[in-house]
């Protein structure tokens, strides 16, 4: 989707505030901890991301990062029936898990962090369509639904610099489909993307359906 999250190359945001700390408020620390410790049954990371992408664009651009996470965690739990809207707005639970979750100590949280190391590789039957060194062109057709091809890289020609085998395909994952596509790193020159003569490049990790031979 051409949502408010697709920020690459967009103008009007002014200078980067280079001095801001990772967390400015305690509620941000707690939101991070909640996102990583309150279970969210089924779903996919890309459906989670697509939730944030579907916020009202003005709201998306206005709210602090972790406030968007908070609303998204709540929205996804209502979507899945973990919370009801009424529970959220009244603050009163109408059901509870028995037995309640056991507290984790520091060793427990460190172990949970390590266990969070998800592998996205998928064995593929189909051979890759492209090889390192190939020239490819990205599609210039906007996607309905979630995609990880940013608008700034649409309709552009680049070079395959790595092939990573099959990885879970984000566009399908946001629809609940767990299937792989070949994943490549594609390098684009600044002159190709932006029309400048800078010697710089941008590398993106792109799935095969985004690409065609050029």
């Amino acid at each position: 989707m051409d949502g408010p999250h697709d920020l690459g190359g967009k103008d009007g945001f002014g200078p980067v505030k280079t001095e801001a700390p990772p967390f400015a408020h305690d509620w941000e620390r707690r939101q991070w901890a909640l996102s990583k410790n309150v279970p969210l049954p089924d779903g996919t990371i890309d459906w989670w991301r697509h939730g944030i992408e579907n916020m009202d664009p003005a709201t998306y651009l206005s709210l602090p990062y972790f406030e968007k996470w908070c609303l998204n965690e709540i929205a996804h739990r209502i979507d899945r029936g973990v919370f009801t809207l009424d529970e959220v707005l009244t603050g009163t639970p109408t059901s509870r898990q028995e037995p309640p979750a056991e507290p984790l100590d520091m060793d427990g949280t460190l172990a949970r962090l390590r266990a969070n190391n998800t592998d996205f590789r998928v064995d593929m039957d189909a051979p890759p369509a492209f090889a390192v060194g190939d020239t490819v062109r990205t599609t210039n057709t906007p996607t309905v639904g979630h995609t990880r091809l940013p608008a700034y890289a649409r309709g552009h020609t680049g070079t395959i610099v790595a092939h990573h085998g099959g990885h879970l395909y984000a566009d399908a994952g946001a629809k609940g489909e767990h299937r792989g596509e070949h994943l490549y790193t594609v390098e684009f020159t600044a002159s190709e993307l932006w029309g400048t003569d800078a010697p710089d490049t941008t590398c993106l990790d792109l799935w095969e359906p985004y690409l065609a031979s050029a």
Partner: protein, 211 residues
């Protein structure tokens, strides 16, 4: 069951934003209270996780990895081959690091990491991302005008240094390995790790200071 219905999740977002209290601290408190009261998580776990990300998980982890790569050529080779595996030697794997890729700066190449679509970051090895990394300004401009962005961080690159920007669009995450500065021969691993800045591992810092 997740609905995978974009309109439904968008409507939920609009409804929540319109009807929850507007203070973000109260919104997070509402989520926390409900999750704890429903027995989904223990309050102590949240407290401990916050403490962990304050004391145990942060850029000092990445700095140790970089310092090791400077003094141990075999480790450096493993790191460049598969950083996700290599950091397991430190026990630093975790959120968003299985497909970690280390990219090394050289005299004529500088690496800069971004995520224009959300704010992907190798949290388990670098800690929480700096706020600017998640800002619209950085996400928008890092790919289009990396030199102007670097200048705002005090880094002025001449045109004989090429910038490679890595936009984390899939589940690969990127760790920049800065160059080891001159004047550090014989330093201990701890001394070396102490000069590796967080920003140098994102690419918004370049020449490390030896003092």
């Amino acid at each position: 069951m997740a609905s995978y219905d974009a309109k439904k999740i968008g409507d939920l977002h609009r409804h929540l934003h319109a009807h929850m209290p507007s203070d973000p601290a109260l919104r997070v408190k509402a989520l926390e209270s409900l999750a704890v009261e429903k027995g989904l998580v223990a309050q102590e776990t949240i407290d401990t996780w916050v403490e962990m990300y304050s004391d145990k998980v942060g850029p000092m982890r990445g700095a140790q990895v970089v310092a090791r790569s400077w003094t141990d050529p075999e480790f450096r080779a493993r790191l460049l081959e598969d950083a996700g595996q290599a950091i397991k030697e430190f026990g630093f794997e975790g959120h968003a690091t299985e497909h970690l890729k280390a990219v090394e700066n050289t005299r004529d190449t500088h690496n800069l990491v971004t995520c224009t679509l959300c704010s992907c970051y190798p949290f388990a090895v670098l800690g929480m991302s700096p706020a600017w990394y998640r800002s619209a300004a950085y996400r928008a401009r890092s790919v289009r005008e990396p030199r102007a962005v670097l200048a705002e961080f005090g880094i002025d690159l001449t045109e004989d240094v090429k910038i490679r920007v890595w936009d984390s669009t899939a589940e690969l995450r990127y760790l920049v390995v800065p160059e080891r500065p001159a004047g550090t021969d014989g330093w201990s691993a701890e001394q070396l790790a102490a000069i590796v800045t967080r920003d140098s591992m994102i690419g918004t810092d370049r020449d490390l200071k030896v003092q």
